[in-house]
């Protein structure tokens, strides 16, 4: 089976511009267009959150699509399931807005749409080739790769740094 692609965060590259958040909200709007999305009801919401470690260190946080996802097991309505490509997704039609998932997600990445009374979170953009946040990130702090490719890239980068250090 092909390895599944995931969204990885390269924290050091995040500039804190929040572009991913906007792109995410637009990707989850009815119109898929920022100008119209702003006026939609229910208001489209971002599922990625640019949080800060400290004032100068931003970091995007989003659903990990955990193995044995606590949210999925906790949901009292059966509204959360895992798709064939391993994304853990919330079915808004089934969600009753009891927020049990919010209470158990250890990453705090499930949003509560108060107007619609629905929980929402990253679905890795099921209808796109590449998640909108990844496309939107101007510095490529978010990447969409398989675990293997991502760790390969990390190793390559480490090796480059090492050899640069030795050359000095």
């Amino acid at each position: 089976m092909d390895q599944i692609k995931e969204i990885f965060v390269r924290k050091d590259l995040c500039m804190g511009c929040h572009s991913c958040e906007l792109a995410c909200a637009v990707a989850h709007s009815a119109s898929k267009n920022i100008y119209e999305a702003m006026g939609e009801h229910p208001m489209p919401k971002s599922r990625v959150y640019v949080e800060t470690v400290s004032a100068s260190v931003p970091v995007p946080i989003l659903c990990r699509h955990c193995e044995d996802a606590p949210c999925m097991h906790a949901c009292i309505a059966g509204a959360i399931h895992r798709t064939a490509d391993q994304a853990v997704v919330t079915d808004a039609d089934k969600c009753i807005g009891c927020w049990t998932c919010v209470m158990v997600c250890p990453y705090g990445v499930i949003g509560r749409h108060l107007e619609a009374r629905k929980a929402y979170r990253c679905d890795r953009c099921q209808d796109r080739d590449q998640p909108a946040c990844v496309s939107a990130c101007p510095t490529k702090a978010l990447v969409y790769q398989t675990v293997t490719d991502f760790s390969k890239d990390l190793r390559r980068k480490a090796a480059e740094e090492l050899s640069r250090g030795e050359g000095r």
Binding site: G78, V104, C105, G108
Partner: protein, 416 residues
């Protein structure tokens, strides 16, 4: 481990089905039999208030094929009540007299409502201790022509039932013996906002009162007489006074029972091949280490998952659960309550914060190093993070200000 073990599970709900799915996932060839005394196919029990209100149909709340309950090939036997367990011959006997042999057994029989003996007339038609889909269907029908319901007990279950009834235009009076509603989940001061919201939504709440007698009329219940002698007409009564583990059928076995079935951190009972999970099991509080029996879907599903893995030979320790761990939204107010929520005047460091439409109470250990309990009303942002740091018993001194101010994010925990 020998392949093709025979697994038998008593109870087809959160714990039982989670375990069954975990077993099938770990050992696809396994033979899994699930015995349920109910005649309905498994359903999401916490959803039954929506059956009363009519917002959902029984098909909407079915478990099979929904959420994590996707496993195929499970032998589910409905209308099959287990009456006894023989741990020596590894078999259970059903009400119809059949015996079912097992290599490994999971007891996931859940719990059933506690009915106080000092109330007279609890057996009258129209009196409910809501637990099953069958009862909910019946209550749905009765509520269509009912005008007034009296709900005994101020817990979450009754609040959910109350809103279902309001939805059906049935007036509701909550009779609560404690000084305040939700006394299991919070202290009276914590409940102020919720109480206001409930009353605003049209609930009538009487605290410090209890029912003495339920009075029968030609069409079942017709009134409730309170401890002060007041007689209130009504056509439905709901008893929400907590639950007790379903262990009666184990009486004749040698299982260790302490309220519920006692298990070790690997969900195993005193018998090597017998496990228990969910409402029926006695588990432990990760902070205090004390034994607890819970009535929580979240706990049942998670513990069942663990049990399934352990049974299928993938040793998985259960992290334990707080006796209190609830999230919900009533009358437009979301709230979360978990862990040590009744610090009283005990040895704890407690922070309370009221602002606008939000209230929170954070309970830290005496030395201020661990978060041990919280109540959040109105704004439950990042509640899961708090559960995580409580359960893992993280030393939180570095991020304490953020915890108190509710500005903590997982960024602080992961990278801080």
């Amino acid at each position: 481990m020998a392949a093709n073990q025979t697994y038998v599970i008593i109870g087809a709900s959160a714990a039982g089905l989670s375990a069954a799915c975990a077993i099938v996932k770990t050992e696809p060839e396994a033979k899994v039999t699930v015995l349920s005394e109910e005649t309905d196919s498994p359903y999401f029990r916490p959803m039954i208030p929506f059956i009363i209100s009519g917002e959902k149909s029984p098909a909407d709340v079915a478990m099979t094929g929904q959420g994590p309950y996707q496993a195929k090939g499970i032998d589910l036997r409905l209308n099959t009540r287990v009456v006894s367990l023989d741990t020596h011959s590894n078999q259970v006997k059903t009400k119809s007299g059949d015996t079912v042999l097992f290599d490994r057994l999971l007891i996931a029989s859940g719990s059933s409502p506690y009915i106080p003996r000092d109330i007279e007339g609890t057996g009258i038609k129209g009196v409910y201790a809501l637990r099953t889909l069958a009862q909910a269907r019946d209550a749905a029908q009765r509520s269509s022509s009912a005008r007034h319901a009296i709900l005994l007990g101020g817990g979450l279950l009754n609040l959910k039932a109350a809103f279902a009834l309001l939805e059906k235009k049935v007036a509701v009076t909550l009779v609560v013996y404690s000084p305040e509603i939700l006394s299991q989940l919070m202290e009276p001061d914590d409940a102020v906002m919720i109480r206001q919201a409930l009353e605003h939504a049209g609930l009538k709440i009487m605290t410090g009162r209890s029912a003495k007698t339920i009075v029968q009329g030609p069409n079942g219940v017709k009134a409730v007489i309170l401890d002060n002698g007041v007689d209130i007409p009504c056509d439905m009564v709901f008893i929400g006074k907590g639950v007790r583990p379903c262990v009666d059928f184990l009486k004749s076995s040698d299982m260790e029972i302490d309220q519920g079935v006692v298990v070790d951190p690997y969900t195993r009972t005193s018998r090597e091949n017998i496990f228990a999970a969910g409402d029926v099991a006695v588990t432990f509080d990760p902070v205090t280490g004390n034994r607890v029996v819970t009535g929580l879907w979240t706990n049942a599903a998670e513990m069942g998952l663990c049990a399934g893995k352990n049974m299928a030979g993938d040793p998985t320790a259960y992290a334990g659960t707080f006796g209190v761990m609830n999230a919900t939204q009533v009358a437009g107010l979301p709230f979360v309550s978990m862990g040590q929520v009744h610090p009283g005047s005990g040895d704890y460091e407690v922070h309370r914060n009221v602002s606008g439409n939000a209230y929170r109470k954070l309970v830290f250990s005496k030395e201020g190093k661990h978060l041990v309990g919280l109540v959040m009303v109105g704004d439950i942002t990042h509640a899961g993070l708090y559960r995580y740091i409580m359960r893992e018993q993280r030393d939180i001194r570095r991020v304490k200000e953020k915890i108190i101010g509710q500005t903590l994010t997982s960024a602080h925990l992961m990278y801080g």
